[in-house]
Amino acid sequence: MSGRSTRAGGNGGATRDGRSSTDDAANGRNVPDGLPPQLRPKGIVPTGRWAGMAGLALIPVALGVLLRHPPLVLAGAVGVAFAAYARGDTAPDPELTLERELSEPAPDPGDEVTVTLRVRNDGDRVLPDLRIVDGVPAALATEGSARLGTALRPGRTATLRYTLTAVRGAHEFDPVHVVARNPSGSRERDARVAAGGATTLRCTPELEASTSLPLRGLTTVYSGRVPTDVGGAGLEFHSTREYRHGDPAKRVNWARYARTGELSTLQFREERAATVVVCVDARRGSYLAPDDESANAVERGVEAASQAVPALLDGGDRVGVAAFGPGDCLLEPGVGDDHAARVRDLLATHPALAPTPSDERFLPTSWLRRFRRWLPADAQVIFCTPLTDDYAATVARRLDAYGHAVTVISPDPTADDTPGRRLARVERANRVSGLRSAGLRVLEWGDEPLATELERAAARWSR
């Protein structure tokens, strides 16, 4: 029930199963493990807990006859009574109204949210055995049990209360799993009931610019803050050239004029704005973390994006967002406060960037074709990917080859406690150095905060 992720490692990269293993907990199983949800019994199910009771009851009866000891027959009679009780008991038909209430429907990440689920018996019969499991969203961790076992008289209400810790995302509650049994427990009814009231928990982190990301030299015609190799108006000295009629007087190289009597003009590096598309690798195989407590690589990729985007927008660059994963998540580059709000909402709540992987099918090659068509010609790409497979490196290299200067921010999800994981780590390191030798900028993001790593990397990168 939490945003747990599997460890990176194993064979040829990483374990592929990113799904939290505890989400079964939300399903209140009463059938053996491993049965897929579509095979689980629905409706009225005999529990079989009294099977063979009548037969067993005949043993003392028979023994009583054989040994001519009448009191033994009495023990059999008790068994027959229980068999009759189980047999004659009708299946329950619960009519329930469920109402969910959140103490805070739009919390900040890390905030605790109290969930109150009220269950009312609207039928005219007593429900002697009612088991309720709330459909807690897969990414959220609960404190206290999101389950309740109770008995309800007609018209009465039972209340289930528990606490959730909010994480980024728009989390939809699943229908409540209700299991009702008759008094003897011989039959049960298994149902999913949609609860009224709050069904979504939206947690949208603020975008906070913590660091400025050095961009590469691909720019638009608009002025901004990315230094280019073009001479013109600016701050940093670039070159000198012959004076042309109309050059501003303050850019004339007066020192040289004094020395030689020739007019020449100083040129400075032009600073221009860039178009940047931040692309987060959100494929199923990227939901990886070094251990259960750590955030997975997609979470960290989104975090890197939400730090980079505001810094870029503040610098006057046009910024777009895309997800390399299932579900169409493409936001055209733009500027301004409205755009910043759109980016914030998209990064927080778009299903393609959810904290747990989706089950949708994903074809990376057709995605890449579509993405290239969509990508503006002068756009740089900041690609947030754990680089746990070769295809991510291929995407980066291919985009770079098509002329979109690519910077890779790669959160490191690898561990080193088993040989398989060490192998995965080495393979990833090889991919990183492969990309670097192909001329891409790669920022390896380990345990340090992103700002620190950026500082270190920026000192190394040339313009």
Binding site: L74, R87, P449
Partner: protein, 183 residues
């Protein structure tokens, strides 16, 4: 409100996520009720017959341990041991109707209550509040058992005076036929 956003730039990246897993163990109160029911039967049988008491004691251990560990198999063997102890007390030691009724009742009830607790543990786990559910189920089963025992004893007291055992048996077989015909 304190913003503990992941993107605060200082504690970036590593967010503590505490996974809540359900302990698929029966609730303690359920275990206690099942063990108590088994112990009552063992005590009643032990008073009239030592060997039956010994077998029943094994049954109590199996019922208690099986329910605590959430094992239906151990619990089932425990209930079977209680049935065996009842047969032993009746067949070998010739115990009267009182202890035999209590023994049979305790075998049926410890299976019922124990299995109910194991089921609750499977579906809801140990942390969940299940007291109302447990109490309702236990009350239902115990009253059914008590009424059945009382009726059986009443019929026995009225009929066993001069009637042969066979008459009682036919009565029971008739009851079983009725139960099977009921849907």
């Amino acid at each position: 409100m304190g913003r503990r956003a992941a993107g605060d730039g200082t504690g970036a990246g590593r967010r503590e996520v505490v996974a809540v897993t359900i302990t698929r163990r029966p609730p303690r109160s359920g275990v206690a009720v099942a063990a108590l029911s088994a112990a009552t039967g063992a005590a009643a049988l032990g008073v009239v017959s030592a060997p039956a008491g010994a077998v029943a004691a094994v049954g109590v251990l199996l019922v208690g341990g099986g329910t605590l560990a959430g094992s239906r198999r151990a619990l089932g063997w425990g209930a079977v041991s209680l049935v065996a102890a009842t047969l032993l007390a009746g067949g070998v030691s010739g115990a009267g109707p009182g202890p035999l009724l209590v023994g049979g009742l305790s075998a049926a009830l410890s299976w019922d209550l124990g299995e109910h607790a194991v089921g609750l543990g499977d579906q809801l786990g140990r942390e969940t509040d299940v007291i109302r559910n447990l109490a309702t189920h236990a009350a239902g089963s115990i009253s059914v058992g008590a009424v059945a025992a009382a009726v059986a004893f009443g019929v026995y007291a009225a009929a066993a005076g001069g009637q042969p055992v066979v008459a009682l048996v036919f009565l029971l077989v008739g009851a079983i036929a009725l139960v099977s015909a009921l849907r």
